[in-house]
């Protein structure tokens, strides 16, 4: 009986004809070119990452949107930057194997953004640690640093999601700003708040920085908040993050609230929240992944700088150039030299204590160095009357003759000084701010970036360092 059944069963076996090649089995094929070879050498072979740049609508999350493919000539420049500023720093800190294990396995590149019905555009998506879709690449220009940083921000953002999806961040993070997450985060943009541009900027920044979020997008939800903080730290650098913190104050309309001596009221709540978020990110990277964030940040910033180098500060400063003015407000800066601060603070207290009949206890709000004329720099001392409205400030201008030789200047006090209003104002405060004036008079300075003093601060702070004393310097925002 068993034998019989076996015979029947054997007799019953069917054979399908499997000789035909199934079309499309094994993936898309095309004649490989130099781009494909580059990708194979730099991504697929070392990291087992596929980089898809040829159009395949099914790779898009939202296949019903009008999106166009990437320009071929941009594929290698973009992927090269991503490799150098994302994979290489991580691999240097954590080893190649870490990247081989945790990087997503596929990139999909597309040329245009994906337009959303709420008016926003999508620049990238990450899918469950497997795939990163980068959009809007056709406008990319490797020489355009903000564009490089935007792509890098997207990369570090999406990779942050992968890390967070593998090991979740502690729930303390989402308890820092629990009530300020909003689905309508995209309503936070410049121009949404006031027709007065200055007020609009203040209100715009107050709507995310002022609430303890590093970007508008980070108000979206706890996960995006976490990875935005991480990616801003890596892509923007330490100086950028500190500068955000140092500029958080309580505003009354257009002006920062302050006491009678001009001491600003800090937004301690937002500062504490942002610093708490940063400390959790740092601890998360250390405890969960054994990554020293500062080390990674330094390497990432160096890689960005290597990718598109910043010209030296002196070549960018002056009439008709990128920068014309350095603004120094010690209440908004940290890291100014003690020697400069001593001169500044002494001048300020002397001015406040001066003759109440003539100067009403004026205080210095900020000073600026204006390089908008050839062979001249104007020291502008912005001072305020504590009894007047905050909108009423005075500028006292002091002109110095300079001769700039490769970024070295000596500031020679000009005589005679002009006699217009701002120079008249200068005569009023001149007797009280001698220490400040003496800091500049006939002193020789190097005009340069101060990234050796404040790391990763190129393009944020420009400074003057005394040639005879490297421990005496000032810098300010541009």
């Amino acid at each position: 009986m068993v034998a019989l059944a076996t015979i029947f069963l054997a007799g019953c076996s069917k054979k399908d004809d499997l000789s035909a090649n199934i079309v499309g089995l094994g993936g898309d094929t095309w004649t490989k070119g130099p781009i494909d070879e580059w990708i194979s050498t730099n991504y697929t072979t070392p990291y087992n990452i596929e980089v898809k740049y040829k159009w395949d609508r099914s790779e898009l999350g939202e296949i019903y949107k009008n999106v166009v493919p990437v320009k071929e000539e941009l594929v290698v420049p973009i992927m090269s930057i991503i490799k150098n500023t994302w994979i290489v720093p991580y691999a240097a800190v954590k080893g190649e194997d870490f990247m081989k294990k945790y990087t997503q396995k596929q990139f999909y590149l597309a040329g245009s953004p994906s337009y959303n019905s709420n008016g926003t555009i999508t620049l990238g998506t990450a899918e469950a640690g497997r795939k990163i879709v980068l959009l809007d690449l056709n406008t990319f220009n490797p020489a355009n640093k903000p564009a490089v940083k935007q792509i890098l921000h997207t990369m570090h953002h999406e990779f942050g999601h992968i890390l967070n999806q593998n090991i979740a961040v502690v729930s303390d993070y989402q308890r820092i700003t629990p009530s300020d997450y909003t689905a309508t985060w995209f309503n936070i943009f410049r121009g949404a708040y006031s027709s007065n541009a200055a007020l609009d900027k203040i209100m715009y920044e107050a709507d995310f920085w002022g609430k303890g979020f590093v970007t508008p997008y980070s108000r979206s939800n706890k996960d995006d908040d976490f990875v935005e903080t991480l990616s801003t730290l890596l892509e923007g650098g330490q100086a950028n993050f500190d500068n955000i913190i140092n500029n958080l104050f309580v505003y009354d309309g257009l002006y920062i609230k302050r006491n009678g001596k001009g001491v600003y009221e800090q937004n301690t709540d937002a500062r504490a929240k942002l610093l708490k978020k940063k400390s959790i990110v740092v601890a998360y990277m250390k405890d969960s992944w054994g990554i020293d964030l500062t080390d990674l940040q330094t390497r990432t910033q160096a890689a960005i700088e290597a990718q598109s180098a910043t010209a030296d500060f002196n070549s960018l400063l002056g009439p008709g150039k990128t920068y014309g003015t350095i603004t120094i407000n010690p209440q908004k800066l940290s890291g100014l030299s003690t020697k400069f601060l001593t001169a500044y603070n002494t001048a300020n207290t002397t001015l406040q204590a001066g003759n109440p009949q003539t100067n009403k206890g004026y205080y210095i709000d900020n000073i600026s160095l204006i390089f908008t004329a050839a062979n001249k720099v104007t020291l502008r001392v912005n001072f305020m009357d504590p009894t007047a409205a905050l909108g009423v400030g005075f500028n006292g201008d002091f002109d110095y003759n300079i001769n700039n030789v490769n970024g070295v200047i000596t500031m020679a006090y000009a005589t005679p000084q002009p006699t217009t209003t701002t120079y008249g104002n200068a005569r009023v405060i001149e007797p009280y701010i001698t220490t400040l004036l003496a800091y500049f008079n006939n002193q020789e300075f190097n005009i340069r970036w101060v990234d050796d003093i404040i790391p990763q601060s190129k393009s944020i702070f420009g400074g003057l360092v005394k040639t005879t004393d490297a421990t005496s310097y000032l810098f300010g925002t541009l």
């Binding site: 009986m1 059944a5 029947f8 007799g11 019953c12 069917k14 004809d17 035909a20 090649n21 199934i22 079309v23 499309g24 898309d28 095309w30 004649t31 740049y53 040829k54 159009w55 395949d56 609508r57 949107k65 009008n66 999106v67 166009v68 493919p69 990437v70 320009k71 071929e72 040329g111 245009s112 953004p113 337009y115 056709n138 406008t139």
Partner: protein, 437 residues
């Protein structure tokens, strides 16, 4: 015991029955083999064209474009387009999606029309011109391949170029037709197709042809976009007029002596002639036009190109007026009281001189009569605006003196009744297009 045997017999029967093999073979072969073969054939066909393929694209929002493609067997294509003639190389691929599909899979000249970022090449934000770069094969013969965009349903027709000269002339072929079309002096054009008299509307810029004819006393209109391949005006949608189906119009020439365009439809010669009356006048259109003026923004009609007359666009030379934006026919919202008239809009302000019409506005048997009531400002001298307004006044009222009058047809040109063409009744050789402000 017997019961057990019965069961075995039953089982045995079942097994035998279950073992029946299906020996049928698909008579047209294995589906994957056929698909591979189809793709291979398309590939061979595409890269086998020595002089390339002429491509005619009509996007889903009816923007026409002409291309010249060459394909090689290494997934590379070189294309030029009427809007960007410099040849540029990019990649393509044939792929079996739901249908065999031609993918232009890296950014190229063709993608400009589909780019959703309007600052790149115009069109609508998020949509561009509703164009495609993934095209499914609809049909093919040796020299013609018809494709349809899989996303926005735009149409792409590829026609094999037969010579280097044909490829070189691809972007100028349209000009010959456009020239012939624009030589007809009158707004109205007539032809006879299959014994049926038709009014022809021909927009050579948008590449649209339409024929209107009377069917039981009602005006019936059929319209199609077209492309020009060599001497042939080919319609994207075949047009049916009576019992005649038109797929293309060929051998278009202009006879300057008789002011007639000669052409050929389905092997029969046709003549497109000038006409000074519409085939069927919409007798209520003039009144509707007048009433709509009050509903428009600022109570005004606006014309961007001002008057066409005597075969010349912008006959009055408003283009010479610095800051000219458009020409208005406006009512009391602009002029106050019960006044209405013609005035130019220049550098965001209303310009002088201007003309007021006599009230009430005359409409007789569907024909509007403009009578000159008041001249305001200086029409003499050589100031461009004075010259232009003087010419416009002479056209609209048929004269410069108070009381001069001219009759005009009003022809609705949009379904919502908010766009009109106004055509001079006397000879149909002067016209102007109005839109709401």
């Amino acid at each position: 015991m017997m019961k057990k045997h019965l069961l075995y017999i039953l089982l045995f029967t079942l097994v035998l029955g279950a073992c029946k093999k299906d020996t049928t073979e698909p008579v047209i072969g294995n589906v994957d083999d056929r698909l591979s073969e189809t793709l291979t054939n398309y590939q061979t066909q595409l890269n086998g064209a020595q002089f390339g393929w002429k491509g005619y694209l009509l996007t889903d929002n009816e923007k026409p474009a002409t291309f010249l493609f060459t394909f090689n067997d290494k997934n590379r294509t070189t294309m030029s387009a009427d809007y960007r003639t410099a040849p540029a190389e990019s990649s393509y691929r044939l792929k079996a999606l739901q249908r065999p599909t031609l993918l232009f899979d890296s950014y190229s000249t063709l993608h400009l029309l589909a780019d959703p970022t309007s600052s790149v090449f115009g069109g609508a934000t998020a949509s561009g011109y509703y164009s495609d770069f993934e095209f499914a094969f609809l049909s093919s013969s040796a020299d013609t391949i018809k494709l349809e965009g899989t996303f926005n349903k735009s149409k792409l027709i590829l026609i094999r170029s037969k010579s280097a000269a044909e490829s070189a002339a691809i972007f100028t072929a349209l000009n010959n037709v456009t020239d012939a079309a624009s030589k007809i002096r009158t707004y109205f054009k007539r032809t006879t197709i299959g014994g049926i008299e038709c009014e022809v509307k021909w927009d050579p810029i948008a590449q649209v042809l339409s024929f209107s004819y009377l069917e039981s006393g009602n005006l019936k209109t059929v319209t199609s976009n077209y492309y020009v391949s060599g001497p042939v005006v080919a319609l994207y949608d075949p047009l049916v007029i009576g019992t005649t189906t038109i797929k293309q119009i060929s051998d278009i020439t202009y006879d300057a002596a008789s002011f007639i365009v000669n052409a050929n439809v389905n092997g029969n010669p046709i003549q497109i002639k000038e006409a000074i009356t519409p085939l069927k006048l919409d007798v209520n259109a003039a009144q509707r036009w007048y009433n709509q003026m009050f509903a428009n923004s600022n109570g005004t009609w606006v014309s961007d190109k001002a008057f066409h007359a005597g075969g010349v666009d912008d006959f009055c030379n408003f283009k010479n007026v610095a800051g000219y934006q458009n020409l208005w026919y406006a009512g009391p919202t602009v002029f106050g009281g019960t006044s209405e008239g013609l005035i130019a809009f220049v550098s965001n302000a209303l310009g002088a001189p201007y003309v007021l019409s006599r009230n009430p506005f005359g409409i007789n048997a569907g024909i509007a009569r403009f009578t000159l009531g008041t001249n305001a400002g200086t029409f003499t001298g050589t100031a461009p605006i004075a010259l232009a307004m003087n010419a416009a006044r002479n056209l609209l009222y048929g004269g410069a003196t108070v009381g001069s009058a001219q009759d005009w047809y009003l022809i609705p040109t949009s379904d919502d009744g908010k766009k009109y063409d106004m055509v001079r009744v006397s000879d149909a050789q002067a016209w102007i297009s109005w839109r709401p402000r």
